[in-house]
C-alpha cells in the first residue's frame, strides 16, 4: 500500500534561513459522501494526519478532513537550524501510514 510521495526541500540552506517545504502524496481521499453506480455509499478513505519532524523534533502538524483534494498537497515553512533529516509522516483511514525523509545541509 505504498503511496508515492514527492517532497521538495532545498538541499542546502544558510543557518537561520526560512525554507519552504512542499509535500505531495498520492492518495484517493475518498470523502465518504459519494455513492457508486448502484447507490451504495462508498466508505470514507482519507488521510487524516500529517506531521513533519526536523531531527526528531515535531515542527509542523496538520489534521486533514474529507474536503482536502485527492493527492494532498501541503506547503509550509521552517527555519533551517542544523543539518540533518526531515521526516514526514502521513496517517489515515484503514491503517494507512506512509513515511518519507529528506536531507538538508545547513551551512
Amino acid at each position: 500500500m505504498a503511496a508515492r510521495t514527492l517532497i521538495n526541500v532545498p538541499p542546502k540552506a544558510k543557518r537561520g534561513e526560512i525554507i519552504q517545504i512542499k509535500t505531495l502524496i498520492s492518495h484517493i481521499m475518498e470523502n465518504g459522501f459519494r455513492s457508486d453506480n448502484i447507490g451504495k455509499p462508498i466508505p470514507r478513505d482519507i488521510i487524516t494526519a500529517f506531521t513533519c519532524a526536523y531531527n526528531g523534533e515535531k515542527i509542523f502538524e496538520a489534521t486533514l478532513y474529507p474536503a482536502i483534494s485527492a493527492n494532498p498537497f501541503i506547503t509550509f515553512h521552517t527555519v533551517a537550524t542544523e543539518s540533518g533529516m526531515l521526516a514526514f509522516q502521513w496517517t489515515g483511514d484503514n491503517g494507512f501510514s506512509q513515511e518519507a525523509t529528506a536531507k538538508i545541509t545547513v551551512e
Binding site: 459522501f33 459519494r34 478532513y65 494532498p72 498537497f73 501541503i74 506547503t75
Partner: protein, 154 residues
C-alpha cells in the same frame, strides 16, 4: 377483491423505503450554524477578530475538486509571539472542517498552502490562533461552476 389496501400498503412501503434510502444517502450539508459550531470546537469561546490573517482563494473557481488555497498570517514567529494554529472552514461543504495546521515558533513564517474541495458557491473562512490566545479571521466568497464531492464517480 376490491379492497385496495394491500396494493396501497405495498406502494406506501416501497415509497417510504425509497425516500428513506434517499434521505440516508443524501449527503449532509454544513450550514453557517454548523460552521460556527465547528469553529467553537476548534478555538473555544475566544472572540474572533478580523485582520492579521490573509486567505487567498480565487474568487471564481471552475473546478471544485481542486482549489488552491493559501493562508498567511502577519506574525514575527518568535518564541514569545507566534501562530499556534490555522484552520480553514467552509459553509456549505458536507462537513465544515477543511484542514487544521499546527505551527510553532520554529516555523519562521506563518504561511501554508494546500488544495481543497468545494461543494458549492460559498464562503470560505480561515481562522488563526496566536500564542497569546487571540484569534483572527478572514473570509472569501467563492463562486463555483463545477462542484466537488457530491457527484457520482466516473
Amino acid at each position: 377483491m376490491t379492497d385496495p389496501t394491500p396494493r396501497m400498503n405495498t406502494t406506501r412501503r416501497a415509497f417510504l423505503t425509497v425516500t428513506g434510502a434517499a434521505l440516508v444517502v443524501r449527503p449532509a450539508k454544513a450550514t453557517p450554524a454548523s460552521m460556527a459550531a465547528a469553529i467553537r470546537q476548534a478555538i473555544g469561546e475566544t472572540h474572533v477578530k478580523p485582520g492579521r490573517i490573509k486567505l487567498n482563494v480565487p474568487p471564481l473557481v471552475e473546478n471544485g475538486n481542486v482549489v488552491a488555497v493559501s493562508v498567511s498570517v502577519e506574525s514575527p514567529m518568535t518564541e514569545k509571539d507566534y501562530v499556534k494554529t490555522i484552520h480553514i472552514f467552509t459553509e456549505k461543504n458536507p462537513q465544515p472542517n477543511v484542514i487544521s495546521f499546527r505551527l510553532n515558533a520554529r516555523s519562521g513564517k506563518a504561511e501554508v498552502q494546500t488544495r481543497i474541495r468545494l461543494a458549492d458557491t460559498q464562503t470560505v473562512v480561515a481562522i488563526c490562533e496566536m500564542s497569546d490566545g487571540s484569534c483572527w479571521s478572514d473570509k472569501v466568497d467563492v463562486i463555483l461552476t463545477l462542484s466537488a464531492c457530491l457527484e457520482d464517480p466516473i
